[in-house]
């Protein structure tokens, strides 16, 4: 099985610690990945809001490259990219007009997408393919007594993803449990964090993140784990501002699920990007 890897822009900048920790964990599990050559931005919600043709074309270009590079599966860790990939695949599969038009344009660059490469989120790969038992066997330092709130956000699990339960997702909780931690049950697991509204409609964006942080804290969580660079950024980088503005201390460590895994698997902090965090980091004893 040849795994390709599409990082997307965020994992190369503000979400660097997601990439670092993901690659460290995969390496420890013996999974090799090959980065997609010359990939481009997936366009996220912005391209869809302006020009649907372009949105589909630029994502299809990445899928075309994956097919040319000869992978069986492409791993897409960012929730927004992952959803965009699935959406493009779905449209190309179900509407022949779109498929033909997009492929005609890709042809100019010697590419085409025919649905051969499968799109995978790392959570799917780790939980559904490797399985929780296999993960447990890699644990060197069980995260005993650690209460974890898994935050899935929106686009990771709906509307197209099938690897988890849309209504009550559990793959990150499965991972937390496999690492010896205790998942907390909370109702805001998949409530939207407002995406980039923290920069555009600041008051709304901050309030939406406040609700999530507050709920996780009041359920007794020690840490929130995420699987999306934008969710992680919002919850981590704005928690100080939110606490000050709304006069309520909602600060709490917010890390990627891969960083949590790495800690339990005994991977050194340096290889998990923990030094690049702004929120209080998790201290293990």
């Amino acid at each position: 099985m040849k795994y390709l890897y599409y990082p997307g822009c965020s994992l190369k900048s503000s979400g660097k610690h997601y990439e670092i920790s993901l690659l460290a964990v995969l390496q420890k599990l013996g999974i090799e990945v090959e980065e997609l050559e010359n990939w481009n931005c997936c366009g996220a919600t912005n391209y869809m809001s302006i020009n649907e043709n372009y949105a589909l074309e630029i994502t299809a270009r990445n899928l075309g490259i994956a097919e040319k590079q000869g992978g069986d599966e492409v791993i897409v860790p960012c929730a927004a990219c992952f959803m965009g990939f699935l959406k493009t695949q779905k449209y190309m599969e179900s509407e022949s007009g779109i498929r033909d038009r997009v492929n005609q344009i890709l042809n100019h660059s010697g590419l085409s997408y025919n649905g051969k490469v499968q799109i995978r989120h790392p959570l799917d790969l780790l939980v559904n393919q490797l399985g929780a038992d296999a993960l447990t066997r890699t644990v060197e330092m069980p995260l005993k007594d650690l209460k974890v709130a898994s935050y899935y956000g929106c686009q990771l699990i709906r509307p197209y993803a099938t690897f988890d339960d849309q209504w009550n997702p559990h793959t990150m909780d499965d991972i937390a449990r496999a690492m010896g931690a205790t998942p907390v049950d909370w109702p805001l697991k998949s409530r939207c964090c407002s995406g980039s509204m923290t920069s555009t409609m600041t008051d709304i964006g901050l309030r939406m993140n406040y609700v999530i942080l507050k709920e996780a804290k009041s359920r007794g969580a020690d840490v929130i784990i995420t699987a999306c660079p934008l969710c992680q950024f919002n919850l981590e980088c704005f928690q100080g501002k939110i606490s000050r503005k709304l006069k309520d201390d909602v600060r709490i460590p917010v890390m990627y699920f891969t960083q949590l895994m790495g800690l339990a698997m005994g991977i050194p902090a340096k290889k998990l990007g923990l030094k690049q965090m702004l929120s209080p980091s998790l201290v293990l004893n």
Binding site: K12, S13, C41, Y47, N51, I105, H108, P159, M201
Partner: protein, 194 residues
């Protein structure tokens, strides 16, 4: 928006004479949204209840659907409501009639951009358009360039509020001025011009 003589605003409701409505609007949007069955909407309000942003919207998602199919083109497209949609797909998975409201919102955003009647000083479409041209320019997003250009177009003074966060991220090497971009940008750009 120019209120036409036949338009009366009463208690937040826009009332129009039938002759002033854009009768094809519903059909156009339904088509643009890949054949969404807007006309099958039963106005149950599940979408509005599920939407985490509806409390800040001028028209709730249910109302947007009703206005679109009735032909309130100008009102819907010039309003900020659709730009408050964060594409979280909660409404879409909750709709008992299987209407993909998120895709309808996308179709409305595109229609507003195309007709140039989106709210001009509203930050969300400004960010979307900046993002759009940044990707076209380099193929990837560099967050420093994206945000700088966004604030230049929107309101440069607002950027100051983020300066300290920016510096802290920069020190942590989570922002960089020298991201490795794509190598064949020309080919990428020509793809977007076809």
């Amino acid at each position: 928006m120019n209120a036409s003589s036949s338009e009366i605003l009463t208690q937040g409701l826009t009332v129009k004479l039938e002759a002033d409505l854009d009768k094809n609007f519903g059909e156009t949007i339904a088509r643009e949204a890949h054949g969404e069955k807007l006309f099958g909407c039963i106005q149950c309000g599940n979408c509005s209840a599920a939407c985490p942003l509806s409390v800040w919207m001028d028209y709730t998602p249910r109302k947007v659907i009703a206005m679109v199919r009735a032909g309130f083109k100008q009102e819907v497209l010039s309003n900020r409501t659709v730009w408050l949609c964060a594409s979280c797909y909660q409404c879409t998975v909750e709709c008992p009639k299987g209407i993909k409201i998120t895709d309808v919102m996308y179709a409305l955003k595109r229609e507003a951009i195309e007709n140039k009647i989106y709210p001009k000083n509203f930050p969300v479409p400004i960010l979307a358009r900046t993002f759009y041209s940044e990707v076209k320019r380099t193929g990837r997003i560099n967050e420093i360039f994206l945000l700088t250009n966004y604030y230049l177009r929107y309101n440069i003074f607002k950027m100051l509020g983020y300066a300290s966060l920016g510096v802290r991220l920069f020190m942590k090497r989570r922002l960089s001025l020298f991201e490795k971009g794509m190598t064949n940008r020309k080919e990428f750009r020509s793809m977007l011009n076809q």
